[in-house]
Homo-oligomer: 727 residues x 2
């Protein structure tokens, strides 16, 4: 087994590292959340970084994902080792070429940071609706559930595609995996070379269209022969799952990381099981371990190879004692009798029973649930809720989990459970582009690469991007971190923007006795009285330790303007004790040199100054232990606002949209004209003033428009209810 090297990267980088190393042509077009894979590859090629065979991959950005698909297909026909990255609608535009690439049995890997498809609304976040829209193309589909797995499955897909001639779609959850930072073990070059034997690559080369070996491919076929030719592909698919198992075996022998097409986690005599794939399987892993420790006979199957779907391997993974199975799909297909993974599992169980090959003591009940659409939180508590449902006398055949469905009543109830693992859990409230995320990524690298601790960072971006709230969720600890969900009981909560205290419940997920660090324009003597009543109450109720720093002043005095990130990072290390203080300071400075060295001595010096000054300005606040103010958080909208605004629209800007039940959305459109109900922000109300160019034909609509127009009042602020689409 090769000596392991560790790095701390997000899922996109973990995948790009493999893709860039194993290919010659990389055809790209950016789409959130897959773009960073292409950006990394582009940068590395621009820097002249070679692939495994010493040549620098050609990274070609096309005019659209459709163009990238054409470029891929063309490069493959020329015999190039080819890959691409995409997501969501970008994947949809590749589907026509994917049918052909698969039909022509072409080795190829497409990496997908799985993202929601736009339906009633666009979403940049993650679920499996995009990859499920491509499941019928004839691609093998391999799923990763964590950053390490994304790195590993990227490689397994590369190896398996040349062994099978079946193209592979490798996918992992958009944002939850693509943007989660974790410490991972890198696959050494010699293992990659071993998994890509020259003779297989030469076979691919030999299939290239070449005037010296003239063949015709991609013809038009007629009813006489098309069907027969299509069936001639069966043998390639029939042996694909076994080949993937063989690659897993080989990979495990070389790296020590062992996977199966379906992996079982849980009690060997489990009675209740869930089946799912992607990052949700990690949250379920946590829940199952807890429940098994508590004596429950439960378990889960992590689906790794979704296509070809090997029903026999799935059944072999499940203990024969299983009597109830909940299959969880991270997609929704309205009008279907059930979501795809559910139907596949049900089919595998039914086919085995029909064939008299059922491994189960008694025919299990199979039910299906939807979870996690558009990166909806999926937690161990929800997994327990699903197991509770399975324990019911008659489990619902179809359900949802993670929301409250007060309309069609499909949602199962659940209770959140606190994490009880060793280690640090921290939440940082920052403003998009204020440097908080960068500093946190830095902290993870310091801890992940400088210690034996495991490290995880996840960043809750708003799709409004820069200027919006960004909340960082960090975990450090001695055990591998599988909690693919937000931090719920944080021992450390930092609020980098004072104004957030008036808007958001920043202490909602502070654990009892946690540290609360606030960047405040007020001194340690004054800060308590300046906190809104709700914040004081939480500090008191939870027995929090309050720390404060005027980071803006520290940064400014160090010559760094408004860049408070280094200051706040220093405070985190100083208070949290995750590293010894001196060691932490040295590591921060080291990292500053690496990050800013190129920008010159002066920038580095200013950062050092900020670090040193931070500790002098950091104060623990002794507070009275009781609420001392009447001043509550100001309302976002006027009391007399219409019901829908109060009940729905105004909840979301508070970062409490997750509490809205399904019935909140029975009006499918959001009402406008809400600006006038907004509190003290808008200086004017924007109106649409149409210039009537022609008279005769447009007169009626002009008249209609004028009726509601107030010329002269200029647009002031954008209505926060009217959220912008810019993706």
């Amino acid at each position: 087994m090769s000596r392991a090297r560790h790095i701390t990267v997000d899922g996109n980088e973990a995948v790009a590292l493999v893709a860039h190393r194993c290919n010659e042509v990389i055809a790209i077009y950016p789409i959130t959340p897959a773009s960073p894979m292409g950006e990394h590859a582009d940068l590395w090629s621009a820097q002249g970084r070679p692939n495994l065979w010493g040549t620098v991959p050609d990274v070609v950005e096309m005019q659209s994902e459709g163009g990238a698909a054409g470029a891929m297909h063309g490069a493959l026909q020329a015999g190039a080792l080819t890959t691409s990255f995409t997501a969501s609608q970008g994947l949809l535009l590749k589907i026509p070429n994917m049918y052909k690439i698969a039909g022509e049995l072409t080795p190829f890997v497409l990496h997908v940071a799985a993202r929601t498809l736009a339906t009633h609304a666009l979403s940049i976040f993650g679920d499996h609706s995009d990859v499920m829209a491509a499941r019928q193309c004839g691609f093998a589909m391999l799923c990763a559930g964590s950053v390490q797995e994304a790195h590993d499955m990227a490689m397994v897909a590369q190896a398996a595609t040349y062994r099978t001639r079946v193209p592979f779609l490798h996918f992992f959850d958009g944002f939850r995996t693509s943007h989660e930072v974790q410490k991972i073990e890198v696959i050494p070059d010699e293992v990659m070379r071993h998994l890509l034997p020259d003779e297989l690559l030469r076979e691919h080369r030999d299939r290239a269209l070449d005037p010296d070996r003239p063949v015709i491919r991609g013809t038009a076929q007629n009813p006489d022969t098309f069907f027969q030719a299509r069936e001639a592909a069966n043998i390639y698919y029939d042996r694909c799952a076994a080949e993937v198992e063989a690659v897993f075996e080989d990979f495990g022998n070389k790296t020590g990381r062992r996977y199966r097409t379906f992996d079982w986690v849980g009690h060997p005599e489990a009675e209740r099981a869930i089946v799912l794939m992607g990052s949700g399987a990690e949250a379920a892993h946590v829940a199952v371990e807890d429940m098994v420790s508590a004596g429950e006979r439960v378990g889960l199957v992590k689906v790794r190879l979704f296509r070809p779907f090997d029903g026999a391997a799935l059944l072999a993974a499940l203990p024969p004692s299983v009597r109830r199975i909940a299959v969880l799909d991270r997609t929704k297909e309205p009008g279907s009798i059930g979501e795809p993974l559910y139907q596949d599992v049900l089919t595998a169980v039914a086919e085995a029973a029909q064939a008299g090959r059922s491994p189960f003591a008694a025919a299990p009940v199979v039910v299906g649930g939807r979870y996690g659409l558009s990166s909806k939180e999926f937690t161990p508590g929800m997994v327990a809720g699903v197991f509770d449902e399975l324990a019911a006398e008659r489990p619902r055949p179809h359900f949802t989990v993670g929301i409250v469905d007060d309309v069609t009543h499909l949602s199962v109830p659940w209770q959140e459970v606190d994490e009880e693992t060793d280690g640090v859990r921290a939440i940082f409230w920052g403003l998009g582009a204020d440097g908080t995320v960068g500093a946190n990524k830095n902290s993870i690298k310091i801890i992940g690469e400088g210690t034996d601790l495991h490290a995880q960072g996840y960043f809750v971006y708003d799709s409004k991007k820069s200027g919006a709230v960004t909340v960082s969720h960090l975990r450090f600890g001695p055990q591998p971190i599988r909690a693919t969900c937000l931090v719920r009981n944080a021992g450390f909560v930092a609020c980098h923007q004072w104004s957030f205290l008036d808007k958001y419940d920043v202490l909602e997920h502070a654990a009892p006795g946690a540290v609360f660090l606030v960047n405040s324009p007020y001194g340690p003597g004054e800060v308590w009285d300046r906190l809104p009543r709700e914040v004081q109450q939480a500090v008191v109720d939870k027995g929090l330790r309050l720390w404060t720093i005027d980071a803006v002043t520290v940064a400014r005095e160090a010559g760094m303007g408004n860049r408070i990130n280094t200051v706040m990072q220093t405070c985190f290390f100083a208070i949290s004790g995750v590293l010894p203080r001196e060691e932490a300071i040295a590591a921060i400075k080291d990292s500053i040199k690496k990050t800013y060295g190129r920008r010159g001595e002066e920038v580095v010096r200013r950062n050092f100054k900020a670090v040193d000054a931070a500790l002098d300005h950091l104060h623990e606040v002794a507070h009275p232990g009781a609420v001392t103010t009447d001043r509550g958080r100001p309302p976002l909208i006027a009391e007399e606002s219409p019901d829908f605004l109060k009940r729905v629209t105004a909840v979301m800007p508070r970062q409490q949209g997750r509490s809205l039940p399904v019935s909140a959305f029975d009006r499918r459109d959001l009402a406008l004209s809400s600006t006038r109900w907004k509190r003290r922000i808008a200086l004017g109300v924007p109106v649409w003033s149409r210039t009537c160019a022609s008279s005769a034909t447009s007169a009626p609509s002009c008249a209609r428009t004028r009726r509601s127009a107030h010329p002269g009042l200029r647009p002031a602020a954008l209505d926060s209810g009217a959220r912008e689409n810019f993706l």
Copy 2:
């Protein structure tokens, strides 16, 4: 019930008639086999033909199917009654917008002439791979199996979409239904108006984006709310199937044509059942009626509403006595555990059993089969083959039918059965664009609209289009014609091109005692000896009556150049006796006036002359009743050709490609360099001569190229093995 009006049209026109009548905006982009729908609509609007409300629909041709999808979506958001037509890759390009149209719950109908998606090869022909690629979008999917049904379902979809707000994809089989000509009953305007009540259309109008009623729609949503909002659509889908049933009921009351979401045909106590949708269900209908008459307890379910899939309605349609179910899918999804309709039926059966609601006396075995890919023939004989498989002790869980799979051995055996219905069955061998198809469509109209007989025409085009063989298959008879397959035992076979006798087995499907009419350059005394041995043998073996005419001379003498279609049509009527001869001649002349009247008196006169002369030149040939020649059909390729050419490549140009088994395609590419094996046609062999523009970098590949180049020999004929892609 309204008084019925009959017309004789193909499926595309039958659908376009409804679509143009019921809409205001028709966004189109042409793709085979859906193009004629857009062409009809465009023509009718250009002619000023109004819709039901007296306005002429706007027909807008966009730059691609993606553009048409955007135009559709935009028009819908503006409140217009909107429709479109597409197929195959064109449908794929519409999928991104379809998710949004469905997500926004927008009434809309998309008509799809279902066509094969390009995989290992392109195909312009029909199967369900395209619509299955859109099954997850959230559209309702309604399937028609015949020209009449396509007309009817187009209307039912229009009615149901406004009742449910769920958009509908209405599909019917490309070519088999889109291009089959049948006599159908037209839905009267008053029925259409009744099915589209003003209040529902007004509701659609009221949901238009309008500055006077400002709402926001199509926003970006984040993890907080997307999932809940997505589940808010459930109630619309939950009631959709029942609403479609209500429309069927209403439609049936008005027209007398009754449909259900799942229709049962067969023995009320059937033990074996098949489930399928589309035109194949008509062939199955024929087989089931025959088998039930013969005392077999069999039946079939015609699936009309595929999405939302109403499992309870499916089970209600099946007799409780059913013990074996074969679900037939007209698509292939490599790597799936089963094709989609199969998995849906299996899920419905399993869910009912789990819930204790199974209607069956004993749990039925459900198996799945693929058929009819790329318009592969699907015949009553194949249906019987499937029922035989169901009667086996252990039916194969997955099978194919209609091909010989000698590799993965999935194909079930079948035997063709001859049709035994009353009426005329005729086959016409013509050259693409020689007028044969036009004349045959004409004959169908004459019979369909001038008599009480039912009439059907199907035309086997080669994708090489003009200049290639086109075989017309016509049926006339007193009963409705459900045989959605080629004519097998024709009472009349005409060969319009003498040279075909040397190439094709034109008499393969002549019934014993049939008429064989050949257009011959030889007189009645000479023609027999000029026939190749194989043709003489068939005439003798089957006891055929041989007729001949020198149609080219007749046409030329009538001043019509090479246009022999009117001459051959006249001969058909004269010999077949489907109408009394005088009546037929009058009808042909009447139809000539309608068709050519615009081109002037002279053209009509020439055609009349050809008709009159035809009868004078038509002769029955008294033949010796024994083979009199040694001259066989000349071989297509040299005896010493490579095995693959003889075994595979050369079979297809004989119109015998259907006989090739799966193993013929284990080499996925077709070998080139076949021209030199061709018989006596090519005057030279094309070679690729590459001009070496730059020296340094391209030298190695130039050298490689020159090795095989023979400069100076100019391209002569295209290799017939190198079939052109022009679609």
